[in-house]
Protein backbone atom coordinates (compact mmCIF):
# COMPACT_ATOMS: atom_id res chain seq x y z
CA UNK A 1 0.00 0.00 0.00
CA UNK A 2 1.31 3.44 -0.76
CA UNK A 3 0.93 6.43 1.56
CA UNK A 4 -2.32 7.57 -0.01
CA UNK A 5 -4.17 4.31 0.44
CA UNK A 6 -2.77 3.30 3.83
CA UNK A 7 -5.60 3.26 6.38
CA UNK A 8 -6.18 6.03 8.89
CA UNK A 9 -5.36 5.26 12.50
CA UNK A 10 -8.30 6.61 14.48
CA UNK A 11 -8.52 6.82 18.30
CA UNK A 12 -12.14 7.06 19.37
CA UNK A 13 -13.21 7.73 22.93
CA UNK A 14 -15.50 4.99 24.24
CA UNK A 15 -17.31 5.21 27.55
CA UNK A 16 -20.06 6.92 29.46
CA UNK A 17 -20.54 9.34 32.36
CA UNK A 18 -18.59 6.94 34.61
CA UNK A 19 -15.45 7.11 32.48
CA UNK A 20 -13.87 5.38 29.52
CA UNK A 21 -10.84 5.13 27.28
CA UNK A 22 -9.71 5.45 23.68
CA UNK A 23 -10.25 2.58 21.27
CA UNK A 24 -8.17 2.24 18.09
CA UNK A 25 -9.75 1.71 14.66
CA UNK A 26 -8.31 1.42 11.17
CA UNK A 27 -10.43 3.29 8.65
CA UNK A 28 -9.90 3.29 4.87
CA UNK A 29 -8.51 6.62 3.66
CA UNK A 30 -10.44 8.38 0.91
CA UNK A 31 -9.62 11.36 -1.26
CA UNK A 32 -12.56 13.34 0.12
CA UNK A 33 -13.45 12.49 3.69
CA UNK A 34 -14.72 14.38 6.72
CA UNK A 35 -14.30 13.42 10.37
CA UNK A 36 -18.03 12.64 10.45
CA UNK A 37 -17.51 10.26 7.51
CA UNK A 38 -14.80 8.50 9.52
CA UNK A 39 -17.03 8.16 12.59
CA UNK A 40 -19.92 6.92 10.45
CA UNK A 41 -17.66 4.35 8.74
CA UNK A 42 -16.63 2.96 12.14
CA UNK A 43 -20.25 2.75 13.27
CA UNK A 44 -21.39 1.08 10.04
CA UNK A 45 -18.49 -1.29 9.32
CA UNK A 46 -16.43 -1.79 12.49
CA UNK A 47 -18.53 -1.39 15.62
CA UNK A 48 -22.28 -0.82 15.43
CA UNK A 49 -22.41 0.06 19.13
CA UNK A 50 -20.52 3.34 18.65
CA UNK A 51 -22.75 6.23 19.74
CA UNK A 52 -22.49 9.66 18.16
CA UNK A 53 -24.78 12.46 17.06
CA UNK A 54 -25.38 14.13 13.71
CA UNK A 55 -28.25 15.32 11.56
CA UNK A 56 -27.75 17.60 8.57
CA UNK A 57 -24.13 16.77 7.52
CA UNK A 58 -23.74 20.25 5.98
CA UNK A 59 -22.95 22.59 8.87
CA UNK A 60 -26.46 23.82 9.49
CA UNK A 61 -27.78 21.96 12.52
CA UNK A 62 -24.91 22.11 15.01
CA UNK A 63 -25.30 18.58 16.35
CA UNK A 64 -22.07 16.83 15.30
CA UNK A 65 -19.43 18.85 17.17
CA UNK A 66 -16.67 16.78 18.81
CA UNK A 67 -13.12 17.20 20.02
CA UNK A 68 -10.79 16.40 17.12
CA UNK A 69 -7.13 16.13 18.14
CA UNK A 70 -8.06 18.04 21.28
CA UNK A 71 -9.82 20.91 19.50
CA UNK A 72 -13.58 21.45 19.27
CA UNK A 73 -14.76 21.19 15.66
CA UNK A 74 -17.89 20.65 13.58
CA UNK A 75 -17.02 17.18 12.30
CA UNK A 76 -19.23 17.32 9.19
CA UNK A 77 -17.25 20.27 7.82
CA UNK A 78 -13.83 19.17 9.02
CA UNK A 79 -11.78 17.44 6.34
CA UNK A 80 -9.60 14.60 7.54
CA UNK A 81 -6.67 15.99 5.53
CA UNK A 82 -6.74 19.21 7.53
CA UNK A 83 -6.37 17.57 10.92
CA UNK A 84 -4.49 14.35 10.20
CA UNK A 85 -1.23 14.02 12.10
CA UNK A 86 0.98 11.35 10.59
CA UNK A 87 -2.09 9.29 9.56
CA UNK A 88 -3.46 9.52 13.10
CA UNK A 89 -6.50 11.37 14.40
CA UNK A 90 -8.11 11.39 17.86
CA UNK A 91 -11.87 11.90 18.27
CA UNK A 92 -13.56 12.55 21.62
CA UNK A 93 -16.84 13.99 22.94
CA UNK A 94 -17.14 17.77 23.42
CA UNK A 95 -15.24 19.23 26.35
CA UNK A 96 -16.96 20.92 29.34
CA UNK A 97 -20.10 18.79 29.02
CA UNK A 98 -21.07 15.48 30.66
CA UNK A 99 -20.83 12.43 28.40
CA UNK A 100 -23.89 10.31 27.68
CA UNK A 101 -22.07 7.61 25.75
CA UNK A 102 -19.00 7.51 23.49
CA UNK A 103 -19.02 10.65 21.32
CA UNK A 104 -22.44 11.94 22.37
CA UNK A 105 -22.13 14.71 24.95
CA UNK A 106 -25.06 15.68 27.16
CA UNK A 107 -26.16 19.08 25.84
CA UNK A 108 -28.58 19.78 28.72
CA UNK A 109 -26.29 22.12 30.70
CA UNK A 110 -25.56 24.07 27.51
CA UNK A 111 -29.25 24.68 26.72
CA UNK A 112 -30.25 25.13 30.37
CA UNK A 113 -27.77 28.02 30.51
CA UNK A 114 -29.08 29.32 27.21
CA UNK A 115 -32.49 29.64 28.90
CA UNK A 116 -30.98 30.95 32.16
CA UNK A 117 -29.31 33.78 30.23
CA UNK A 118 -32.76 34.93 29.08
CA UNK A 119 -32.46 33.24 25.67
CA UNK A 120 -36.16 32.50 25.14
CA UNK A 121 -37.77 35.08 22.87
CA UNK A 122 -40.48 37.24 24.42
CA UNK A 123 -42.31 39.16 21.71
CA UNK A 124 -42.98 42.84 22.30
CA UNK A 125 -46.17 42.72 20.22
CA UNK A 126 -48.98 40.24 19.69
CA UNK A 127 -50.31 38.90 16.38
CA UNK A 128 -53.06 41.51 16.54
CA UNK A 129 -50.60 44.38 16.48
CA UNK A 130 -49.22 45.76 13.23
CA UNK A 131 -45.80 44.31 12.32
CA UNK A 132 -43.17 46.86 13.32
CA UNK A 133 -40.73 47.78 10.59
CA UNK A 134 -37.09 46.80 11.14
CA UNK A 135 -34.34 48.71 9.35
CA UNK A 136 -31.49 46.26 8.61
CA UNK A 137 -29.03 49.17 8.63
CA UNK A 138 -30.08 50.33 12.11
CA UNK A 139 -27.14 50.25 14.55
CA UNK A 140 -28.72 47.94 17.15
CA UNK A 141 -30.03 45.64 14.40
CA UNK A 142 -26.55 45.37 12.86
CA UNK A 143 -25.19 44.27 16.25
CA UNK A 144 -28.00 41.74 16.71
CA UNK A 145 -27.57 40.41 13.17
CA UNK A 146 -23.87 39.77 13.81
CA UNK A 147 -24.76 37.05 16.32
CA UNK A 148 -27.93 35.40 15.05
CA UNK A 149 -26.23 32.84 12.80
CA UNK A 150 -25.32 30.79 15.88
CA UNK A 151 -26.17 27.10 15.33
CA UNK A 152 -25.75 26.16 19.02
CA UNK A 153 -23.08 23.58 18.27
CA UNK A 154 -21.43 24.28 21.66
CA UNK A 155 -17.95 24.53 20.13
CA UNK A 156 -17.38 27.90 21.86
CA UNK A 157 -18.59 26.39 25.13
CA UNK A 158 -16.13 23.52 24.74
CA UNK A 159 -13.28 25.89 23.83
CA UNK A 160 -13.80 28.24 26.79
CA UNK A 161 -11.39 27.85 29.73
CA UNK A 162 -13.61 30.04 31.90
CA UNK A 163 -16.40 27.49 31.49
CA UNK A 164 -13.90 24.75 32.39
CA UNK A 165 -12.94 26.49 35.64
CA UNK A 166 -16.34 27.91 36.58
CA UNK A 167 -19.29 25.48 36.30
CA UNK A 168 -21.82 28.27 36.95
CA UNK A 169 -20.63 30.40 34.04
CA UNK A 170 -23.31 30.72 31.36
CA UNK A 171 -20.77 30.53 28.55
CA UNK A 172 -20.27 32.30 25.22
CA UNK A 173 -23.23 30.93 23.21
CA UNK A 174 -25.88 31.69 25.85
CA UNK A 175 -24.48 35.18 26.47
CA UNK A 176 -24.26 35.96 22.76
CA UNK A 177 -27.89 34.85 22.43
CA UNK A 178 -28.81 37.26 25.26
CA UNK A 179 -26.91 40.04 23.47
CA UNK A 180 -28.81 39.48 20.20
CA UNK A 181 -32.14 39.64 22.07
CA UNK A 182 -31.07 42.77 23.93
CA UNK A 183 -30.45 44.42 20.56
CA UNK A 184 -33.68 43.06 19.03
CA UNK A 185 -36.44 45.70 18.76
CA UNK A 186 -39.04 42.92 18.71
CA UNK A 187 -37.92 41.48 22.04
CA UNK A 188 -39.53 42.69 25.24
CA UNK A 189 -37.89 42.85 28.63
CA UNK A 190 -34.50 44.50 28.36
CA UNK A 191 -33.98 44.68 32.11
CA UNK A 192 -34.85 40.98 32.48
CA UNK A 193 -31.94 40.13 30.16
CA UNK A 194 -29.55 42.48 31.96
CA UNK A 195 -30.52 40.87 35.28
CA UNK A 196 -30.16 37.36 33.85
CA UNK A 197 -26.58 38.03 32.68
CA UNK A 198 -25.52 39.88 35.87
CA UNK A 199 -25.72 36.99 38.36
CA UNK A 200 -22.90 34.87 39.76
CA UNK A 201 -22.54 32.95 36.49
CA UNK A 202 -23.06 35.98 34.27
CA UNK A 203 -21.11 37.86 31.63
CA UNK A 204 -18.82 39.48 34.21
CA UNK A 205 -16.97 36.20 34.66
CA UNK A 206 -15.63 36.35 31.10
CA UNK A 207 -11.86 36.92 30.89
CA UNK A 208 -11.93 37.89 27.21
CA UNK A 209 -9.48 35.14 26.30
CA UNK A 210 -11.35 34.91 23.02
CA UNK A 211 -11.21 31.14 22.39
CA UNK A 212 -14.94 31.31 21.56
CA UNK A 213 -14.28 33.71 18.72
CA UNK A 214 -11.22 31.79 17.51
CA UNK A 215 -13.05 28.44 17.37
CA UNK A 216 -16.54 29.52 16.20
CA UNK A 217 -17.14 27.59 12.94
CA UNK A 218 -19.49 30.30 11.68
CA UNK A 219 -16.97 33.09 12.30
CA UNK A 220 -19.16 34.75 14.93
CA UNK A 221 -17.64 36.87 17.69
CA UNK A 222 -19.14 35.91 21.08
CA UNK A 223 -16.28 37.64 22.93
CA UNK A 224 -17.34 41.04 21.59
CA UNK A 225 -21.01 40.25 22.27
CA UNK A 226 -20.12 39.51 25.91
CA UNK A 227 -18.12 42.75 26.06
CA UNK A 228 -21.30 44.47 24.84
CA UNK A 229 -23.27 42.93 27.71
CA UNK A 230 -20.64 44.17 30.18
CA UNK A 231 -20.98 47.64 28.67
CA UNK A 232 -24.79 47.68 28.89
CA UNK A 233 -24.86 46.28 32.44
CA UNK A 234 -22.28 48.87 33.52
CA UNK A 235 -24.42 51.58 32.00
CA UNK A 236 -27.53 50.35 33.82
CA UNK A 237 -25.49 50.03 37.05
CA UNK A 238 -24.74 53.75 36.99
CA UNK A 239 -28.19 54.60 35.66
CA UNK A 240 -29.80 52.90 38.61
CA UNK A 241 -27.67 54.64 41.18
CA UNK A 242 -27.86 58.17 39.86
Amino acid sequence: MDADTAPLEVSVWRGDAEGGSFQQFEVPALENQTILDVVSWIQQYADATLTYRFACRVGMCGSCAMMVNGQPRWTCRTHVKKVLRDRHVEIAPLRNLPVIKDLAADMDPFFDKWIAAGGAHRPSASRDDPIPGIDPADGARVEASAGIECINCSICYAACDTVAGNPDYLGPAALQRAWTLLKDAKHEGRSAILDAVSGTGGCHNCHSMGSCTVFCPNDLDPMSAIAGLKRETTRSFFGRRK
Binding site: T200, H204, N205
Partner: protein, 113 residues
Amino acid sequence: MLDLRLYMLQRLSALIMVPLTLGHIAVMIYAVQGGLTAEEILGRTQGSLFWFLFYGSFVLAVSLHAAIGLRVIVYETFGLRGTTLVGLTWSIGLLLLGLGTQALVAVTWPGGV
Protein backbone atom coordinates in the same frame (compact mmCIF):
# COMPACT_ATOMS: atom_id res chain seq x y z
CA MET B 1 -18.81 33.95 41.17
CA LEU B 2 -18.17 37.46 39.89
CA ASP B 3 -21.47 39.29 39.84
CA LEU B 4 -22.02 42.84 38.62
CA ARG B 5 -21.16 44.33 42.01
CA LEU B 6 -17.77 42.63 42.32
CA TYR B 7 -17.07 43.34 38.64
CA MET B 8 -17.73 47.05 39.16
CA LEU B 9 -15.53 47.13 42.28
CA GLN B 10 -12.77 45.37 40.33
CA ARG B 11 -12.97 47.74 37.34
CA LEU B 12 -13.36 50.94 39.40
CA SER B 13 -10.42 50.08 41.67
CA ALA B 14 -8.44 49.36 38.50
CA LEU B 15 -9.36 52.73 37.01
CA ILE B 16 -8.31 54.54 40.19
CA MET B 17 -4.98 52.71 40.14
CA VAL B 18 -4.08 53.53 36.52
CA PRO B 19 -2.80 57.07 37.26
CA LEU B 20 -1.50 55.96 40.70
CA THR B 21 0.54 53.11 39.21
CA LEU B 22 1.99 55.27 36.45
CA GLY B 23 2.85 57.92 39.07
CA HIS B 24 4.41 55.24 41.28
CA ILE B 25 6.56 53.94 38.42
CA ALA B 26 7.62 57.49 37.54
CA VAL B 27 8.66 58.12 41.16
CA MET B 28 10.59 54.86 41.19
CA ILE B 29 12.48 55.70 38.02
CA TYR B 30 13.32 59.10 39.51
CA ALA B 31 14.10 57.85 43.02
CA VAL B 32 16.40 54.94 42.18
CA GLN B 33 18.94 57.26 40.55
CA GLY B 34 22.01 57.08 42.79
CA GLY B 35 20.57 54.33 45.00
CA LEU B 36 17.94 54.26 47.75
CA THR B 37 18.18 54.85 51.49
CA ALA B 38 15.56 54.88 54.24
CA GLU B 39 16.38 58.54 54.91
CA GLU B 40 15.89 59.47 51.26
CA ILE B 41 12.49 57.74 51.11
CA LEU B 42 11.33 59.34 54.37
CA GLY B 43 12.67 62.75 53.32
CA ARG B 44 10.38 62.67 50.32
CA THR B 45 7.26 61.22 51.87
CA GLN B 46 7.20 61.85 55.62
CA GLY B 47 4.68 64.47 56.70
CA SER B 48 3.43 64.97 53.15
CA LEU B 49 -0.35 65.09 52.88
CA PHE B 50 -0.07 64.56 49.12
CA TRP B 51 1.88 61.29 49.41
CA PHE B 52 -0.37 60.18 52.28
CA LEU B 53 -3.46 60.60 50.10
CA PHE B 54 -1.65 59.20 47.03
CA TYR B 55 -0.47 55.99 48.70
CA GLY B 56 -3.50 55.84 51.01
CA SER B 57 -5.90 55.54 48.08
CA PHE B 58 -3.42 53.19 46.38
CA VAL B 59 -3.39 50.82 49.38
CA LEU B 60 -7.18 50.88 49.62
CA ALA B 61 -7.70 50.23 45.90
CA VAL B 62 -5.05 47.52 45.65
CA SER B 63 -6.40 45.62 48.69
CA LEU B 64 -9.81 45.53 47.04
CA HIS B 65 -8.47 44.71 43.59
CA ALA B 66 -6.07 41.96 44.70
CA ALA B 67 -8.66 40.35 46.98
CA ILE B 68 -11.21 40.09 44.15
CA GLY B 69 -8.57 38.99 41.64
CA LEU B 70 -7.20 36.24 43.91
CA ARG B 71 -10.77 35.16 44.68
CA VAL B 72 -11.34 34.49 40.98
CA ILE B 73 -8.06 32.59 40.62
CA VAL B 74 -8.70 30.47 43.72
CA TYR B 75 -12.24 29.69 42.60
CA GLU B 76 -11.32 28.77 39.03
CA THR B 77 -8.18 26.85 39.97
CA PHE B 78 -9.14 25.06 43.20
CA GLY B 79 -12.95 25.19 43.04
CA LEU B 80 -13.27 26.81 46.48
CA ARG B 81 -16.83 28.03 47.01
CA GLY B 82 -19.36 29.43 49.49
CA THR B 83 -18.35 30.83 52.85
CA THR B 84 -14.77 29.56 52.50
CA LEU B 85 -14.37 31.64 49.36
CA VAL B 86 -16.00 34.71 50.93
CA GLY B 87 -13.86 34.32 54.05
CA LEU B 88 -10.70 33.98 51.99
CA THR B 89 -11.56 37.09 49.93
CA TRP B 90 -12.06 39.15 53.09
CA SER B 91 -8.92 37.76 54.76
CA ILE B 92 -6.76 38.64 51.76
CA GLY B 93 -8.30 42.11 51.52
CA LEU B 94 -7.93 42.85 55.23
CA LEU B 95 -4.39 41.44 55.38
CA LEU B 96 -3.30 43.68 52.51
CA LEU B 97 -5.15 46.64 53.98
CA GLY B 98 -3.50 46.08 57.38
CA LEU B 99 0.03 45.64 56.05
CA GLY B 100 -0.49 48.49 53.58
CA THR B 101 -1.70 50.87 56.26
CA GLN B 102 1.30 49.96 58.40
CA ALA B 103 3.64 50.77 55.52
CA LEU B 104 1.70 53.93 54.68
CA VAL B 105 1.99 55.23 58.24
CA ALA B 106 5.66 54.30 58.37
CA VAL B 107 6.62 56.36 55.34
CA THR B 108 4.16 59.29 55.39
CA TRP B 109 3.16 60.01 59.01
CA PRO B 110 4.70 63.33 60.14
CA GLY B 111 7.72 62.77 62.41
CA GLY B 112 6.77 59.19 63.08
CA VAL B 113 4.14 57.90 65.48
